[in-house]
């Protein structure tokens, strides 16, 4: 038993729903009690889908448990096939149905439904959403892929995009264009938009592009083993990774056409002088392993950030994430415990978080800006505009995404210069974000009596230590712009501790500043 407040991943049957909802002509009969239908709204509300997920829930109740839940399952199966006329169905159980052991697979097999029935065994009490999606897609591919000749022309499949993924819709479009530059047409994209008949055509392709290992790796490995289709190992997120991906595709295909880089803007945007202020910004990354690994490389090499820490919530990717962390000289945090992530962020006090919806809330609480780079995400991260994260346009999009939460370069200088100015003060926030309440300034018209008569506050004690901030140092600290104040405070306290000081004076503050200057 483990106490959980927020979860990064849902149960495995939600992963199966992500595959089923992404596809067309497939129906999922899920043995589940009422209430499990909540999962529909993930797709209809968060992703704004305009169709119900193709899922029939058997909706058994307590009073059915003693009698015949199996019949209920068979009725739901028959009704779904009659009503929705799918090309194939997948059948499985949610966590509760797993306990009553009705064997949906066996039941469906006896029904002579005249269409392929793919049975899912998704252990609800040991695995999670990504596993559920990966396993479901693998079982569908295994069940439906048909032996056939390769096409004469070199074509490939795109594997892994699902419903409720992070920017999957636009990544597919971006990669389709990129591959077209390289002289490769796309045979089938799956699961997103594929029908069971399309799945049957997968073996016609010469190789597979594994877009998201989280949801497509088992299928890619099986296709490699069974049909000799190699799959790409580089996830093309970031400029360098996209170029590596292109080289990988060229090596697989022997084609030599190159990609059009005329719309790639990240390198110049990063080199231009306004971006100087990005140098060494300390960022913390958390999300699914694939996005974190790719984005960490971008953060360091293409944005000039300092990676202060990183981690992932899906243990399946722990090895890859640890390797990247080693390369960056930091410790990897592998956990699905939201509170642990919050603690790590609080301790590291980064200047920006690159994370998921959960980290957005952590950032809100700690006053740290956050850019969302990985599922799980909320409704605002399903943009109307074209917004991939893969390929060259993806790199442009990520540059914007990472700069947006921050104060602009020019503005940062103004904040440093004017500190106590009525417009450039702490609570104002980045000027391109609206909605900050105006702060009443008692001194604005030359200083009110109450403002001048404010008694000095008692010296404050630093958290977790015995160091005392003297009031002049405390006041000076407040003049430091909010986005670097946390770091200044911690650095000063660390400096004081290192010097064995009991009190932090104005001098200590500036000595520490000089000490940490870079």
């Amino acid at each position: 038993m483990k106490l959980t407040v927020w979860t990064y991943e849902g149960p495995p049957h939600v992963g199966a729903m992500r595959v089923a909802t992404a596809m067309k002509g497939l129906h999922y009969v899920l043995h589940a009690p009422q209430g499990d239908t909540y999962a529909d709204l993930l797709f209809t509300m968060i992703e704004r889908r305009n169709h119900r997920p193709p899922v029939s829930y058997t909706t058994f109740q307590a009073r059915d448990l003693g009698s015949d839940t199996a019949t209920l399952f068979k009725t739901a199966c028959q009704d779904a096939v009659d009503r929705f006329d799918p090309q194939a169905i997948i059948v499985g159980a949610s966590c509760t149905a797993e306990l009553i052991q009705d064997d949906p697979a066996g039941l469906a097999e006896t029904m002579d439904l005249k269409i392929p029935v793919i049975a899912l065994e998704l252990p609800s009490y040991s695995r999670k959403e990504n596993f559920g999606a990966d396993e479901t897609f693998y079982q569908i591919v295994r069940g439906l892929a048909a032996p056939q000749d390769r096409t004469a022309r070199i074509i490939c499949n795109l594997l892994g995009p699902t419903a409720l993924g992070f920017r999957n819709r636009d990544d597919v479009e971006e990669l389709t264009g990129l591959l077209s530059d390289l002289g490769v047409d796309v045979n089938v994209v799956a699961p997103l938009g594929a029908t069971p008949a399309d799945i049957a055509r997968l073996p016609a392709a010469h190789f597979n592009v594994l877009m998201y290992p989280e949801t497509g790796e088992a299928a890619a490995r099986w296709l490699e083993k069974t049909y000799g289709q190699p799959f790409t190992k580089t996830v093309p997120i970031g400029v360098a990774a996209t170029r590596d991906f292109i080289a990988e595709v060229q090596a697989i295909t022997g084609l030599t056409a190159t990609a059009d880089e005329s719309r790639l803007r990240l390198p110049w945007w990063s080199a231009s002088v306004d971006s100087t202020y990005l140098t060494g910004k300390r960022v913390f990354l958390f999300g699914d392993g694939t996005h974190v690994c790719a984005m960490a490389r971008m953060a360091r090499d293409e944005m000039g950030f300092e990676v202060a820490g990183l981690g992932c919530y899906n243990r399946e990717q722990a090895r890859a994430v640890r390797a990247v962390a080693r390369d960056m000289g930091v410790e990897a945090l592998i956990t699905d415990d939201y509170l642990e992530v919050e603690q790590a962020i609080e301790a590291l006090a980064p200047e920006m978080i690159m994370g998921t919806q959960m980290e957005r809330h952590i950032g809100k609480r700690l006053g740290i800006p956050c850019a969302v780079i990985s599922a799980p995400v909320h409704v605002q991260d399903y943009p109307a505009r074209y917004s991939p994260v893969m390929g060259f346009e993806g790199a442009n999009v990520i540059f914007d995404t990472l700069v947006h939460p921050l104060v602009m370069g020019l503005e940062e200088h103004l904040l440093t210069m004017f500190r106590d100015d009525f417009e450039f003060h702490d609570a104002a926030g980045p000027s391109h974000h609206g909605g900050h309440a105006p702060v009443a300034m008692s001194d604005a018209s030359g200083g009110s009596i109450s403002g001048k008569m404010m008694p000095d506050e008692a010296p404050s004690v630093a958290e977790g230590s015995n160091v005392i901030w003297l009031s002049d140092a405390e006041r000076e600290l407040k003049k430091i712009p909010f986005f670097v104040r946390g770091k200044a405070r911690r650095n000063t306290e660390a400096f004081a501790a290192q010097k064995g000081l009991q009190q932090i004076s104005l001098d200590t503050l500036y000595e520490a500043k000089a000490h940490y200057a870079r």
Partner: protein, 427 residues
């Protein structure tokens, strides 16, 4: 006074009810935790369940916004199921850890889920044991919010019903008002009753455990929510008497509810009118503004929260709408009866759901407004229907006079929006 005689053609109380059995597109009772934990400020809700339960709680209302939520899920793992670990020992450990970290918690609810019910973890026994361990600082109770037993708002019902047996006894003649309302609404309600001289009021749930909610043979109680059937029965078992009334939605409903309650305490018409005249006038005016867009329009309710019948009564009688179908997950005559009496005859009343068959009916009827859950709203919009998400009706302050206009607006806004948008979908 309003004319509360049923409209010509009679009400709907004896109308035939369509009962179907099939897929139900509804939340389970765990969902109630989302508002209950905000209402009871010293309570923690610990669901004993699966990852699905935790995922539901964070997804159901898009509520991943609370800094310090006072709910969590003790997720059952394989070892718990295989009997390799004793569930009770595990639970004791998790509870001890939780209470240690959160000394502000004074009452803990162990909430049963589908998996905990199926594997028969005895949470009543656990609650008893844990109460002994953690008393007097923390009281531990249990109820089931499982989907195999409860539908959406029945979770609140089960929670409140679990509190009834431990309420203190009182011989005093007191009024007990039952149902979780937003504080602002609760204060308005107490103020109205106070102005009419009714001060000896207790609330269930109270905002904090230390407040002195009690019950006894001289207690009379009124429900402010229409989904409290079990709580109603539990209070009757304690000897309390129910004041049947229409639910306090809209000007007419609020007036009828207040009149039923105040009549019990002998408040005369003059006092009643003096206190209610101004808020009634305000409510009527506010409703009239929103009703402009609702008048003459048809409405179809999918079953969701059991608020459907009283809301249909409000919309038909005070906003000029016509109900096509009024679906409710469950209908309790003792609670829904007064509203059914007032609901003009005509609509199909339905209880329970086979969602595919009901979708066939809504497509055939093409009502001007469809009230449904979040899973159905966008798909129906895409088919050209105008929808109102039902969950907002549960989360928004909508009771009593000052919210009557807001309540009407919740229904008029989707219709107004459709009329102001001048852009065709692509494709």
């Amino acid at each position: 006074m309003n004319d509360l005689t049923p409209t010509p053609g009679g009400g709907c109380r004896s109308a035939p009810v369509l009962k179907q059995r099939g897929q139900r597109e509804v939340f389970c009772g765990l969902t109630g935790i989302i508002w209950l934990h905000r209402k009871m400020q010293d309570a923690f809700f610990l669901v004993v369940g699966s990852r699905t339960c935790a995922h539901l709680l964070q997804s159901a209302a898009g509520v991943m916004i609370f800094a310090e939520p006072r709910f969590g899920t003790a997720i059952l793992e394989e070892q718990d199921l295989a009997g390799m670990k004793d569930a009770h020992t595990e639970l004791d450990r998790e509870v001890a850890r939780l209470l240690d970290r959160r000394p502000d918690i004074r009452q803990l609810f162990l909430v049963g889920s589908c998996p905990s019910e199926v594997i028969k973890i005895d949470l009543a026994r656990a609650a008893e044991r844990l109460t002994q361990v953690h008393a007097p600082h923390v009281r531990v109770l249990n109820y089931s919010g499982s989907g195999i037993e409860t539908t959406f708002t029945e979770g609140e019902d089960a929670c409140l019903a679990s509190m009834v047996p431990v309420l203190k006894d009182t011989p005093a003649r007191e009024l007990l008002l039952v149902g979780a309302l937003p504080d602002v609404v609760e204060d308005q309600m107490l103020s109205l009753l106070g102005q009419m001289g009714i001060d000896n009021i207790r609330l269930l749930p109270a905002r904090r455990i230390d407040e002195t909610t009690a019950v006894g043979a001289n207690t009379v109680f009124a429900l402010t929510q229409p989904f409290l059937g079990e709580t109603h029965a539990a209070l009757m078992r304690r000897g309390a008497r129910h004041i049947p009334a229409p639910m306090p939605f809209g000007e007419e409903g609020t007036t009828a509810w207040l009149r039923a309650v105040t009549a019990e305490f002998g408040v005369d018409d003059a006092t009643f009118d003096a206190v209610t005249a101004a808020p009634r006038a305000r409510a009527r005016k506010a409703i009239a503004q929103a009703a402009e867009h609702l008048n003459g329009k048809s409405i179809f309710f999918f079953p969701d929260s059991q608020l459907e019948i009283p809301l249909a009564r409000f919309l038909t009688r005070e906003c000029g709408m016509t109900a096509v179908e009024v679906g409710s997950p469950y209908i309790h005559d003792a609670i829904h009866g007064p509203d059914l009496d007032l609901l003009p005859a005509g609509p199909q009343i339905s209880e329970g759901q086979d969602v595919d068959l009901q979708l066939d009916r809504v497509r055939a009827a093409r009502p001007d407004l469809t009230v449904c859950g979040l899973g159905l709203a966008n798909p129906l919009e895409a088919e050209g229907l105008t929808t109102k998400w039902a969950i907002e009706l549960v989360f928004t302050p909508v009771h009593f006079y000052e919210q009557a206009g807001d309540l009407a607006s919740l229904f008029s806004r989707p219709i107004r929006r459709k009329s102001v948008l001048r852009v065709e979908a692509a494709e």
